[in-house]
Assembly symmetry: C2
Homo-oligomer: 358 residues x 2
């Protein structure tokens, strides 16, 4: 039950929707590119399927279509950005650009952001640095769905980290990972198909292991990468915490259980300690460390050695982080992006409301 | 079968041993502090138990007791350090100090190191930044014991990452984690006790799951954090890869399967692409982002909220990263550091050789 659209069709529709809610043409275009990059790369949960969610945030007064983003504090290599409650899809490119500009001047740039909203996929932002021969880093906190080791309470988001690294003849290395065993998007797929989740992905509201993908609706939680203490869940919990602190405690955004939820119908947390959600971006110029050409030659050697590793029987090859998403991007640019029936229906309703044809 | 020593006794013995192999008094003192900090914090595998290993590296001509460390490339916020084949215990403090000095000037400092050796525990170095109201980051690559997802070959070290973050009235947040399911030190404990390893820690030489803690001696491998693909091992593999690239491809050290082994009796890899092993250090001044007092107040709130989370039945409390090691440090400063009989024997042999009494 899917319908296939071209990249251009989805991009244009998304841009028009963002313009209808009041974004400038420039912001709408930037936001659409970020959002649809998720569909291109196969991260369907973070792409156009969320467009109605973004519109609802705006309708609920939780997202500002005309943000006056600004730097509120800075040094030669750092900045804190106030996102003015703008769409993260607009705020994030603004902030990443500052990180890149600072790196161009002093070698590296680091930007922590408060008063923002969800920013799409981290890889889009990190890859902006790669275009400038820089290593790009992007992370964000998100509303709490994850229970730290030993906790029954949800205190962290799935808090992804992306590190994108340029190479020479080989494509860029792009590690983009939620700091949980499985991203929430994978759970959503199981909810739709009715399959059980593997052990180690979720716990119920008492903290018992569970395989029910609907567990989060009754007080359960996603588990940090590692799954349980014996398999290193304290490490996934620590990594998710670092993302939370860099993105929000450093900037003045909300953190831990106080991060605003994405669904506009979910009430805001009480006694919030900051503003909006937080992100953290970094850019490191390769030639701030060594000649870019030398680095790239060695990255190629690194990539080729790993890709040619002897594999477990039955497995084709060792993948380089970013390989599956890049292959998906090529495939979907050529053959289009399939959307589930439910998503198409949502988008048609949205289009009708705004007088736009998908 | 343990014997208990005071911190001061072990520190002095270690310093004298390093002086005997030719380190300056200052370097020997610095190296001893790094090494024994591991015993204090309960990371026994990385402490004085390795002292004979460091001496053997020196005997084999693989470690230089009188390194001429230098910055070979730099910008305002970055540097690359040539460790001149020195002990990592000496090179790492030198490099971390440069990161801190740069952060003091331009907000952040980032140093990649080549031509070094093993640097003890990452937390020691990261915590140096915390003393200056900075966030400290330390990572290192190591010889290959870990198989990437789908690989039967060992291509990565246990490649730890440490992030240490200052707080106010609460103690610092210190996440210090190998990017594997379990650190090699934990496997060594099972080897001594004869117990089996939990599923998900190791694989045999064909890539099959194994619980035999001796598996690495017959071609097996440690597994990346996550354990298997279904539980996110591709994320642990990606994180270990980032550590490898930041530490070695950025600096000019060896990477992947070419990282020199710690045991001096293991032959060096062939066709090595760089020099020695690599590290990566970062320091970010808190007040480069916001007022340090504001940040610390929010860190305290973060820590207290997580520590007071409702727990799974039977578990006492949610731990903050760094809690167990800090408690161990207090306990061992007061009551001494227990060493296993075999370790004491090794140290006595070492002492006899150099005419030092433990």
């Amino acid at each position: 039950m899917v319908k296939v659209f071209s990249y251009g069709e989805l991009l244009k529709f998304t841009q028009l929707v963002f313009e209808k809610i009041g974004c400038s043409e420039q912001d709408a275009s930037a936001a659409a590119k970020v959002l649809i990059s998720a569909d291109l790369r196969g991260i369907d949960s973070h792409g156009i399927a969320r467009l109605t969610g973004y519109v609802r945030l705006w309708e609920a007064g939780r997202a500002n279509a005309r943000p006056q983003m600004k730097v509120v504090h800075e040094t030669l290599s750092t900045a804190v950005v106030d996102g003015d409650s703008g769409l993260g899809l607009v705020v994030a490119p603004f902030a990443m650009n500052i990180a890149i500009e600072k790196a161009a001047k002093v070698g590296t740039g680091w930007v922590s952001v408060f008063n923002s909203n969800h920013f799409g996929i981290a890889a889009y932002h990190a890859l902006k640095a790669v275009e400038q021969d820089m290593i790009g880093i992007a992370m964000t906190n998100a509303s709490a769905l994850v229970a730290p080791t030993f906790s029954v309470e949800r205190l962290l988001g799935t808090n992804p980290i992306c590190v994108a690294i340029p190479s020479g003849e080989e494509p860029a290395f792009v590690a983009d990972l939620a700091t949980t065993t499985a991203a929430n998007g994978k759970l959503e797929i199981l909810q739709r198909t009715g399959e059980l989740a593997p052990a180690g992905w979720i716990q119920d509201k008492y903290g018992n292991a569970s395989t029910d993908p609907h567990e989060l609706k009754s007080g359960g939680a996603l588990l940090p990468l590692g799954g349980d203490r014996e398999h290193g869940s304290h490490k996934g919990y620590a990594l998710g915490s670092v993302v939370d602190i860099f993105s929000a405690v450093l900037s003045g955004a909300n953190y831990g259980p106080w991060v605003p939820p994405f669904p506009a119908y979910v009430a805001m947390p009480e006694q919030m300690p900051g503003k909006g959600i937080g992100h953290f971006f970094g850019a490191m110029r390769i030639d701030a460390f060594r000649k870019a050409d030398d680095f790239k030659q060695h990255m190629d050697r690194w990539i080729r050695r790993f890709r040619s590793a002897k594999t477990v029987a039955g497995e084709h090859k060792v993948l380089i982080p970013g390989d599956p998403e890049r292959e998906m991007e090529n495939e979907r640019l050529n053959n289009g992006i399939p959307l589930l029936h439910g998503v198409v229906e949502d988008l048609n309703n949205l289009g009708e409301k705004f007088g736009i044809l998908l």
